[in-house]
Structure formats: structure tokens, C-alpha cells
Assembly symmetry: C2
Homo-oligomer: 136 residues x 2
Amino acid sequence: MRTLLTIGEAAKASGLSAKMIRHYEQSGLLAKSPRTDAGYRLYNNQQLQQLGFIARARKLGFSLNEILSLLQLWRDPARESRAVKRLAEQHLADINQKISQLQQMQQVLQQLSDCCSDDHNSQCAILAGLAAGNTS
Amino acid sequence: MRTLLTIGEAAKASGLSAKMIRHYEQSGLLAKSPRTDAGYRLYNNQQLQQLGFIARARKLGFSLNEILSLLQLWRDPARESRAVKRLAEQHLADINQKISQLQQMQQVLQQLSDCCSDDHNSQCAILAGLAAGNTS
DNA sequence: CTAAAGCTTGCCATTAGGGTAAAGTCAATA
DNA sequence: TATTGACTTTACCCTAATGGCAAGCTTTAG
């Protein structure tokens, strides 16, 4: 296989979009790519690895800012795994909080929906709940 | 109690911010408020009820677009509760999907974090997982 | 050689707000 | 009454992570 890919090929290989790869470069997550004489970006194996890293971190919900920190730690041979773990646990806490909030919404909404008659009637428990304010 | 409130008072009463009340007006969720001679917006009881409706719908995670539909149904005497229920169930499905995605992230991340040694060592299971690609 | 596909940059849109600034208004107090 | 502080108005810019479009250049396949 070739060792240098264009941005479209790198996108396909990493599962990211070309647009986002450019965006990550401009945001400072990635070093600026070498270019062909015509200005086309080229990606080597090392950069492909970084794209994969970013793609996987995005799938886990890390923000670009968090990924920047993770990449810096990844590149730093003197990193302490403690620092990485702290980042991950903060993110885990965020995720758990979001889950809780969504579950609360889900509960209230499910209750309202269960009381809604699903027919031609104009009476509606959902609208009544939103109007009356016993949704909290 | 007075029947006409300024935007700040209406904000306090509804739990929304004055900024957002103006935003909802501009977005077409709310009819344009009557104004004093000086141009101050004034809110009566009916509009306060609508602000409460919006605030509660936002707490349940409905988007402004969805709330627009809910308000239209609320105002329509010929509405069918079926229509409201369909909206609510679509939103419930969205919520449940988000919860699932977050739970998947949580699971993978928790596993990685559990394998991370939380010390001065430079070896780190989290970074290894992000680099290697067994996070899916 | 030509046409299609791919790349470049730059700009605009999205969601649901937050912030700031300049200028006008209202109410209470000195 | 004059001033001061709190409130309101509009208008503009900012956020996060993408998507889309357009104009123009390059590369590749036929």
C-alpha cells in the first residue's frame, strides 16, 4: 500500500470526513500536513494513527479540547497515567450526569405519554402537564 | 398582584431569562408583546402561562421547533390528542437513543478507566485503547 | 483532449443560549 | 428637583462540532 494518502483517502481510512480533518488541523489538534506542489494535503502512517485516535476519542464523546489534552499526553513520553485517568473520569462524570438528566426527562415524559389517550379527543394529558406545571 | 409584568419580572416568574424570552418572541414561539410608550415589553397572565409552558417543555428536552408545534396544538381547540402523543413519542425515542449512545460510551470508557493504573507510570490503558482501536 | 472526480479556500447555517455595549427609561433618594 | 442605580431596548459577537455550497484549480480516466 502507498504510504501517502490524500485527504479523501485518509478520511475513508479513518472514518472522519475530509471537512473535519481540515477542521482538526485548523484547530491545532493535528500538525499542518505536508502538501503536494499543487497544495493537496498528504497523510502518512503516523498521521493516520492520529486520525484514528481522534475518531475513537470522538466516538467516546470527548470534546475537541479534551482530545487536544489527550493527544498531548499521548505524545509526551513523561506522561503520568494518573493525568489521563483524571481526564477520563471527569468525562465519565459528565456522561453520567447527562444520562441522569435524560432519564429524568424520559420518566416524566413517559408518564405523561402514558396518560395521553392517543385518539381524536382534544383532551390531552401531555398538554395539560405542560400547561399546569406538574412536570418537575 | 399586578396583571402586567415587565420582561424581568416575567423572567423571574417563569424561570426563563429575559434574553431567551426575547429570543422566543423573535423565533415566532410567542406573539409580539404589547409595549409601553417607552417600548418596554409587557406580559399578561395568558402570556405568562405560555412562558411556563415553554419553560416546562424545555426542561423535558423538547427543541424550540417541537415546542412551536406543541404550542400550536395547545392553542387549537380542534387538536387531536393523537397528534400530541405522536410528537411526544418521537421525542421519547430520541431521548432513549441518546441514553443508549451515552451508556455505550460510558461502558467502554469505564472499562478503559478501570484498566488505567492511576499512578506515575507512563503506561496507560486509556491511551492504548484510543491508539489501538478496540474501543468499539 | 476532455470530462469527471477530487482538492483548495472561504463563507454561511445550525442550537440554544450567554455576553457586552450604547442608549433610553423609571423610581427612589438626597 | 437632580441624581443615581436598576431596568430595558437593540445590535452585535461568541460558543461546539459539524454540514453545505460555490468558485476555481488539479488530477485522472477515457
